[in-house]
């Protein structure tokens, strides 16, 4: 059931009792949870927050924490599975789903008692009518009682008619079932993402008049993550950032009223968000220009930087910009003042010549104090790196909390730490792409391409996290398409990396082809069916259905089945 009025239907309902919050491992979920935490703190709604990484994890966490809990909020998890069936809760427990994963499970949509979905239902989702999917089988008996009213009919005839009717009925049932299967299949075929949960929560805060710059920053980070990881279309991002810009100007209205006075009276330490044109270069404010150009997916693919020729083109670009090599290898913040100020306009001017026309995009910058200036995309990369920096002594939950803490302004050192980690992450992604293309590790499997990182490859450990692997897969596919030109544009890619050496499992992600404008992903359903057919020991445990765990030995069998299924 959808809750249209979020304040009445959700916030006021839970106000006053303890709430259980489950948060998925992704940046959008973390941002949404932070906004919720702030709201709950303001109204002293006691809560318990537990990070959950997968479906099994969710079930276990629920069993542990369910005692005396009436309200459960699931952030970016559980929307795509039948939550009541999975958790088998007591009847008084009510689940609030705040999930940007689509499609939402039909049982959740139509459950009127226990499941509430926060937000409006988007007509574009194409949710089927209730009658098309569910039907009560109560009319059968009615028919039988109607039969008895005609005693004159002979028994045989009656049986004839009965059986005739039964056949008709069965036939109708079968047709209906077929139709339902078709509708459900069409509905669940593609997995994709809806509105960012962080934005939904910010809008709740806005309508409660509790919006602050910090909360807005969280919402911005949530949207930027969706864009950077290719979870939403570019147009969607432009629309979202437009609305966010409205909120930004609302919040900075008081500061901007009188520019001369504002400059004097408002202290520099007050955080300010500005909406500006930015470059799609990862972390360039904290890195060198050369490194940033090289390791950003967009510029690297357009210039083919993994080849010698590309290297030359990069140098050519730098020359055209009038940026000395020494300066370009210098930290951006240490570059000459003039060069730094002109960097944007220089690269913008040359964008057309080098076919980098999409390099400029609109983004947000947070500034507080004299030294702290962070771009939304840099923060996203930093948090991603923190989230996936598991080590021997650091469990994934530690990383989750670190990524969450990196959002709070006093813990700036965590964010800086994350930026350093993100540099390492991007560098190893680039190296892996280079290796993949040089060694021709991207193999065509018929209807799709696949790319396997072997156990023992350089930095193989780093790619055993879903987000890093998705970033890598997108980079590889883009680069492959640039090399092979037209042939590969309509092929999707599956990437696989070793996950656990002891258990012999690997991580598999699928991403849609480059040519597709919308990031709708059909691998979720395909993975499920292929695993079923081959009896592969696969765990579809992630909330992203296009990510799965698989036994290493079953991989080739699984890919064969997938090829058969998709061709």
């Amino acid at each position: 059931m959808y809750v249209d009025n979020v304040i009445e239907g959700f916030y006021n309902a839970v106000n006053g009792s303890r709430v259980l919050l489950f948060v998925n491992y992704d940046i959008d979920a973390i941002c949404a949870a932070r906004i919720l935490q702030h709201l709950f703190r303001c109204d002293t709604i006691a809560y318990t927050l537990v990070p959950v990484s997968g479906i099994q994890d969710l079930r276990q966490a629920y069993e542990e924490n369910c005692e005396e809990v009436k309200y459960v909020v699931l952030v970016n998890c559980g929307g795509t599975i039948d939550i009541v069936e999975l958790l088998e809760p007591e009847e008084h427990v009510i689940f609030y789903l705040l999930d940007s994963h689509r499609p939402t499970d039909l049982c959740n949509v139509f459950s009127s008692s226990q499941v509430r979905i926060i937000g409006n239902s988007d007509p574009e989702e194409g949710i089927p009518e209730f009658d098309d999917v569910f039907r009560e089988d109560s009319d059968e008996e009615e028919d039988n009682s109607g039969e008895d009213s005609d005693p004159e009919e002979s028994r045989a005839a009656k049986r004839m008619r009965m059986s005739e009717e039964a056949i008709l009925k069965r036939r109708e049932n079968r047709l209906w079932a077929e139709k339902r299967d078709r509708i459900v299949f069409n509905y669940t075929q593609f997995s994709y993402y809806g509105k960012a949960s962080a934005v939904q929560m910010f809008e709740l805060a806005l309508s409660l008049s509790k919006d602050t710059t910090d909360l807005l920053w969280c919402a911005i980070i949530g949207v930027t993550e969706q864009y950077l990881l290719g979870k939403v279309e570019k147009q969607q991002y432009v629309l979202d950032s437009g609305t966010l810009q409205g909120y930004v100007s609302k919040l900075s209205h008081n500061l901007d009223e009188d520019p001369t006075e504002a400059a004097n009276s408002t202290p520099v330490t007050v955080p300010r968000i500005s909406f500006t044109k930015d470059l799609q270069l990862a972390l360039y404010r904290h890195w060198t220009v050369e490194a940033s150009l090289r390791h950003s997916m967009y510029s690297a693919c357009k210039l083919k930087l993994w080849t010698l020729k590309g290297e030359r083109r990069l140098h050519e670009l730098l020359v055209d910009m009038g940026l000395p090599l020494v300066q370009s290898r210098q930290k951006f913040s240490a570059m000459d003042m003039v060069l730094r100020q002109e960097f944007h306009s220089m690269i913008e001017k040359l964008a057309e010549k080098y076919e980098l026309d999409q390099l400029v995009f609109a983004s947000f910058i947070l500034q507080y104090g004299f030294r702290n200036k962070y771009c939304a995309s840099d923060v996203v990369y930093s948090m991603l790196a923190l989230l996936e920096s598991t080590g021997r002594e650091k469990s994934s939950k530690d990383c989750f909390l670190e990524a969450m803490d990196a959002l709070s302004r006093p813990k700036k050192n965590l964010l800086e730490d994350g930026i350093e980690k993100a540099k390492v992450m991007l560098t190893s992604i680039f190296k892996m792409v280079q290796a993949a293309l040089d060694m021709q590790m991207v193999i065509s499997g018929g209807p799709f391409l696949y790319f396997i990182i072997q156990e023992g490859a350089l930095n193989a450990r780093q790619f055993s996290h879903p987000h890093t692997l998705i970033l890598l897969a997108q980079f590889v596919l883009q680069a492959y398409v640039m090399v092979r030109k037209k042939k590969a544009t309509n092929l999707p890619l599956i990437a696989s990396a070793p996950l656990d050496a002891d258990e012999g499992t690997c991580l598999v992600v699928g991403i849609p082809p480059v040519i597709e404008d919308s990031p709708k992903n059909f691998f979720g359903k395909a993975f499920e069916q292929a695993a079923e057919k081959t009896n592969a020991r696969a765990q579809l445990d992630y909330f992203d259905s296009s990510v799965m765990k698989l036994k290493m030995e079953d991989r080739s069998k699984f890919f064969d089945a997938l090829a058969a299924l998709l061709s």
Binding site: L49, D398, P410
Partner: protein, 194 residues
């Protein structure tokens, strides 16, 4: 000079950076000796009134008396200010003093402290039905609830109102301050600051 020693006592107390300087037995005794001497001289001068035809002795007695009075005031100030410190410590540390502070108190001060504690305890017991610990939140906390994070797998924790919370490592909670304060001190929970 008269009264120099007593003034020194006060100055020392004022200057000391310790929470509780040691009771200066020696200084106090010296002041008493000076006072006894002054008193003896005054008595002698008063008894010997015949030898003072022009009233010079009267002036001497007056000066010495003033010195005596000043000494008395200084000693009182010394004792009073120490007692004030002891009283503040009752609110700071509770009814049991840390040993290093106790060592610096003199016997009457300890007695005073004990009786003060007793009186306070009696008073606190008399407030309301079950008594009220006045020393707990001397400054009102900013909020009744705090955000905490579990550092260890503590297991289930039952709160005053009967609700049960599972304190598992890595989980974050918003709990009432009074409930989780002891757990924070034990190192089971960590308060999150923003």
């Amino acid at each position: 000079m008269f009264c120099e020693k007593s003034l020194n006592l006060i100055k020392e107390l004022d200057r000391s950076t310790e929470a509780m300087p040691a009771f200066d037995d020696d200084g106090v005794r010296q002041v008493f000796e000076e006072m006894r001497g002054l008193y003896d001289q005054n008595v002698a001068a008063a008894n010997d009134s015949t030898a003072d035809p022009d009233g010079t002795a009267i002036a001497g007695i007056a000066i010495r008396h003033a010195a005596l009075e000043r000494n008395k005031r200084c000693l009182m100030a010394y004792v009073y200010n120490r007692i004030r410190k002891v009283r503040n410590m009752r609110w700071q540390f509770g009814s049991i003093l840390p040993p290093e502070i106790k060592a610096n108190l003199c016997e009457p001060e300890i007695q005073w402290f004990n009786s003060y504690s007793k009186t306070l305890a009696l008073y606190m017991k008399s407030i309301g039905d079950q008594g009220l610990n006045l020393a707990q939140d001397v400054k009102p906390p900013k909020s009744l609830y705090v955000e905490v994070r579990s550092l260890t797998d503590y297991g289930k924790f039952e709160m005053d109102n009967g609700e049960v919370v599972l304190l598992k490592k890595h989980s974050t909670h918003l709990m009432s301050r009074a409930q989780c304060e002891p757990l924070i001190i034990q190192g089971i929970l960590e308060q999150i600051t923003h």
